[in-house]
Amino acid sequence: MAGPNLMRQQFADTMLAVGQEDPDLVVLIGDISHFILQPFAKACPGRFFNVGICEPTIVSMAAGLAKVGFAPVMHTIAPFLIDRSFEQLKLDFCYQGLGGNVVTVGGAFDYANLGCTHHCYDDFALLKALPGTQILSPASPVEFDALFRQTYRNGLLTLFRLPARVHGQAFSREAIEVGKGLRLTEGSRLTLIATGPQLRSAAAACDPLREMGWDPELLYLHTIRPLDTALIRESVRKTGRVLVIEEHSWSGGLGDDVLRATHDLGGIQYASLAIPDAFVRSYGTYEEHCEALGLSRDGILRTVAATFPLEKEVMR
């Protein structure tokens, strides 16, 4: 399994590389990742600011920087940029039509032992509600680098949710495009749609599902918004069944988007593996939280068996 800091390291590497190419890239942090970003700070003097523990002001400041032509990057733990600073994102960026980049760590329950104050599984839902946003959920280093370079100064407010775990699948850089999902395996009877590190669980579930008689088609979405509706509809129209796996609240996440994208196809069977309508109050490791929530290979197998009562037809 890949190490837990790969995404944050790639963030630092990408800032260093893009920052040297683009004199308008400015990075504002809320006192995390200070040391890992020092290469950027040294290579791009005067464009790195460890502002302090004042996230709403970091967001408004970043909007002010965008106002005078900079490409700002805001970075700290997800709930403080998304939940605490939501109105600043809404008004200072979106309402004013300014572009910027929110790069979070600690999405979902990555800070597993820190409790709900440091969890954030409402980020997709909240940012989807704002006009002028993009929501990206990359879970391999090359994805972040490619997506950031494609989109970091397109005039929109873009969330990059960086997970603590990568999904372990290898993609070519050329295959990674904002707004385009990836069909990783072709199948005929069941569509699995995963985002973020849950691709690992979904990929691991494919062989057992085949052994159970299913023929799963696996889609991976690193982009939640804009959604690759065409890919989703094409797959679900073919298979008639879809299971969405995401580390987000059941409400307002990718699952809701898939339902909206496919509701008119008719006769579609749908299931979701997400975080239920309750705080994740327990402590433990990330993996233990995943297991408890069914966000795992076995959770997928159980959900498929329990939700899609078509085994005779499938086994035929």
Binding site: C54, P56, M61, V68, G69, D92, Y95
Partner: protein
């Protein structure tokens, strides 16, 4: 509160009242407490060009207390950014002017404000960006004293000091709104405690305002300046001066006539 004021700008005040009466919305007292500040700033100090609202070399003015925008609209029309027709369409579906300013629609408006506590932080970002570019533009932001209840104002004040943003001037409209709720309200002491160079002026007295803005032109490059302007809500029309009923009141026809008489 009585203040030794210079002659107030009655023409701008009349424009404000006409807009509010016609549009049937707006905050007259809040506009009257800042209109003299805006007039002096736009007339004598702010480098802006109505033919080029996005001129990169312009100075920036952020009206953080967005509910005072009727005064800003009146001044922007006076300076040529807006037309009389724009003002006539205040708060109508066909117009561009609402009860809070929209920078995406209104020439000369630099920020969408209205939710209090955003403007100073936004201005800090602009000032920081100009500093990165080593540009000489100056940044002015006007905050309300009630707005200073918002914690983000002090987050931003702290950051501005530590980023040494001497290109930033905060004007505080000290019209007494804040003290209605929290009487312990020594605003100059607060700004000084946050390390800002702080001066207190009569916000309706042109000589004092000019002295303050002159001082900002000579401001040390590393220290932000706070101009705490003592003002009166509704200043200029005795029947609406002070707090209470008139904060968001639309004049009746008779009240409109009386206000216009007072401003004659």
């Amino acid at each position: 509160m009585t203040l030794p004021s210079a002659v107030l700008n009655k023409a701008l005040r009349k424009t404000v009242v006409q807009m509010v009466s016609r549009g049937k919305d707006g905050h007259i007292p809040s506009a009257f407490s800042i209109v003299d500040i805006l007039e002096v700033l736009y007339r004598d100090y702010l480098r802006v060009d109505p033919r080029r609202p996005a001129w990169p070399e312009r100075d920036y003015f952020i009206l953080s207390k967005g509910h005072g925008c009727v005064a800003l609209y009146a001044v922007l029309q006076q300076r040529g950014f807006l037309t009389p027709t724009d003002l006539e369409r205040f708060c109508t579906r066909g117009g561009i002017l609402g009860e809070h300013p929209d920078s995406t629609r209104v020439p000369g408006v630099e920020a969408c404000t209205g939710s209090l506590g955003h403007g100073l932080s936004f201005a800090v970002g602009i000032a920081l960006g100009l500093r990165i570019r080593q540009a000489p533009n100056k940044v002015y932001v006007l905050v309300g004293d009630g707005e200073c209840h918002e914690g983000t104002v002090w987050e931003a004040a702290h950051v501005a000091l530590n980023r040494r943003l001497g290109n930033l001037c905060a004007i505080v409209d000290w019209n007494g709104s804040a003290a209605q709720l929290m009487p312990q309200d020594d605003l100059p002491a607060k700004w000084r405690a946050f390390g800002w160079e702080t001066i207190v002026v009569d916000g309706h007295a042109e000589p004092e305002l000019k002295a303050a803005f002159d001082r900002f032109q000579r401001q040390p490059p590393e220290t932000p300046l706070a101009i705490v302007a003592k003002t009166v809500k509704g200043k200029g029309v005795p029947m609406i001066e002070g707090h209470g009923l008139w904060h968001h009141r639309i004049p009746t026809e008779e009240e409109h006539r009386l206000i216009m008489e007072a401003l004659a």
